[in-house]
């Protein structure tokens, strides 16, 4: 049967693609150069002895969160059995993997002695939430890669058999498993389903542990709340789904993703249902803080709502909640474009939330001292942009080398003659029309 497998065509190398690759590589090179200088001369960032964590740690937390999208989509498909989302499941998982791959990059850009990171393995101290994160994140990455592998194995095999210069790469990536008999494919399907059951609780653990990094610091008002882990879980889910929706709207057509009609709108509806939960958690936190008289807790939140960070806070309310809800709740505005805009705002809003959660409590000393807001430096921002660029680069290359939606198209098209031909409803040109 294998000889009949038709390799899906790769995207052509066009100017927009080259432009993105060149721009992203340049940004990455700038960041790498800056980092190299930092390792010789010292850190140029808004961080200080009191505000020891800056923009890079905020991004580290944010990107762990963004990886939740792939897991949620996989759960929708396999646990809630919503078949329509299968069309974007592999792509969402790809976004999750890229988000996770960026996390260690943020850490390497932030550590004082990145070359000693191996100490985490040699001397890891199990009491430290950072070690919990390392363990869970590694497991999570492995599971996500396995999900991705079994999702695209059939494509890899057919591509490794088609003539082309990159055959060796695809053959190498099949990890030696070239079996595409119906039984093997059914087994792949089964593995993917089992993984998606396993990965959901794992994601909850991952985001809880990320929240615990902050929650266990008992001396820091603003960090030390049991609400932190659930807040991180729900923020992660929301930002993850928003990222998937955003990337599909922006780049789905370019990467020829076979998005089923209504999928993006459905993602918007899910976001509209989840946003109030996030708002609810924050509201409960504020009620307890402002009802109480604990001066330190109040100090942090008063500073956030009316101090130097007030623009960020009100920006978060507007960007993260009010405008997205106004777009996503009425069915009239919950269009593909509307969901795209709302998702972009939500990603920004969740980033602001992370920024406030990580940075504001650090400004407040336990011993006497004045509170001064830390401002990120240009160097710090360039480092962060460099890592974003790496993400864009990975996405561009991955979608160029591996036609992301082909597996789905072929699976559905296979039942109807002629095989390999996509159904009209799966034609990206039509379903993606806005």
């Amino acid at each position: 049967m294998e000889t009949k497998e038709v390799a899906p065509p790769r995207r052509r190398t066009d100017w927009p693609f080259l432009g993105i690759v060149v721009l992203a590589s340049a940004a990455l090179a700038v960041a790498a150069f800056l980092r190299w200088t930092e390792l010789q001369e010292g850190v140029d960032a808004g961080t200080s002895n009191r505000v020891a964590w800056g923009l890079l740690v905020v991004n580290y937390v944010t990107f762990i969160g963004l990886s939740a999208g792939g897991v949620i989509i996989a759960s929708l498909v396999h646990i809630l059995n919503i078949k329509r989302f299968k069309s974007i499941a592999t792509f969402a998982e790809l976004l999750a993997v890229i988000s996770i791959v960026l996390v260690p990059v943020f850490i390497f850009f932030d550590l004082g002695r990145p070359e000693r990171a191996v100490n985490l393995l040699l001397y890891g101290r199990i009491e430290s939430p950072l070690v919990w994160t390392v363990i869970v994140l590694t497991t999570y990455l492995a599971v996500c890669l396995a999900y991705l592998y079994y999702g695209v194995r059939r494509e890899l095999v057919s591509m490794s058999k088609a003539p082309g210069r990159l055959q060796w790469l695809y053959r190498w990536m099949t990890l030696g498993n070239q079996d595409v008999s119906p039984a093997a494919l059914a087994r792949d399907e089964r593995v993917v389903r089992r993984i998606s059951f396993f990965v959901l609780p794992l994601a909850v653990v991952l985001h809880s542990v990320t929240g615990l990094i902050f929650a266990v610091v008992s001396a820091k008002p603003g960090y030390n709340t049991a609400l932190m882990p659930p807040l991180f879980v729900i923020s992660a889910i929301i930002s993850g789904i928003a990222l998937v929706a955003l990337v599909i709207v922006v780049a789905g057509k370019r990467v020829r993703l076979p998005v089923e009609p209504g999928v993006v709108e459905e993602l918007g509806r899910i976001l509209a249902m989840l946003l109030p939960i996030l708002a609810y958690l924050l509201l409960m936190e504020w009620t307890v803080v402002f009802y109480g008289t604990e001066p330190a807790e109040r100090g942090v939140w008063t500073f956030i709502t009316s101090g130097a960070y007030a623009p960020l806070f009100w920006g978060l309310l507007l960007c993260g909640f009010i405008v997205p809800l106004a777009i996503l709740v009425p069915q009239r505005t919950r269009t593909r474009k509307g969901v795209g805009v709302a998702s972009a705002l939500i990603v920004i809003g969740v980033f602001l939330e992370r920024y406030l959660i990580v940075e504001a409590p650090l400004l407040f000393p336990n011993l006497p001292g004045t509170v001064r807001a830390a401002v990120p430096t240009v160097g710090e921002i360039l480092l962060v942009l460099g890592v974003y660029a790496l993400g864009v680069l990975l996405l561009a290359l991955a979608t160029k080398l591996f036609p992301v939606g082909e597996a789905y198209k072929r699976l559905n098209g296979a039942e109807k003659p002629p095989p390999g031909q996509s159904l009209p409803s799966h034609d990206p040109g039509k379903s993606d029309a806005t």
Partner: protein
Amino acid sequence: MVRWGLVIDLDKCTACEACVVACRIENNVVTAGSEERVVRDRAIYWNQFFSEVRGTYPDLTLKAFPRPCMHCENPPCVSVCPVEATYKDKDGRVLVRYDRCIGCRYCMVACPYGARYFNWTAPEPDALEGRMNPDIMRDSSGWLVGPTPRPLGVVEKCTLCIHRVERAKVEGSPIGSDRVGGTMTACAQTCPAFAISFGDLDDPTSEAAKLARDKRSFRLLEELGTRPQVYYLAEG
């Protein structure tokens, strides 16, 4: 068991900050450094002086105290360190292994006393020229914990002058500020008002242990449960 600690009598303290200077010179803590470092709150003080004016004129009180590392019995910095670079040694000191630290700065976030400092910029060797303390201190497994200039990108802090104490142990000379010729920390030795006592808190006969039991004695942020080994005697 030995449990080194300090007792600082705020009634005797004149807020001269000689302890801060002595600590810098003893432990090769480079001078506050360029103005930029100070402005950006990146200067390193193993022993930092805090002062706070309370009330409104003319009803004013000045609260002033030096703050070395508290060497907590229940140190929040130690449990969060992902690589066990910071640890509680058998003599009750909280130490940093400078050649193991990965520079994640979690301990700085966890420490409520702000006693931990990061080497944000490369050390300036010129600043130490001619007055460098050559002592190098390694712990029993060979990790660097003593006052040698710390490399860029690691966290550092007060060691209760471990190099002095360990040398005295080797020489068999007395240790503690109440003993004749006793070895003590640089801050205790230099204090012109004899406000700082250094000694073994587990030895009930030591001056430090006696003062720690004084009814004026208190510890900073005691409500956090960190149980510092640095005591203060309140102004009476």
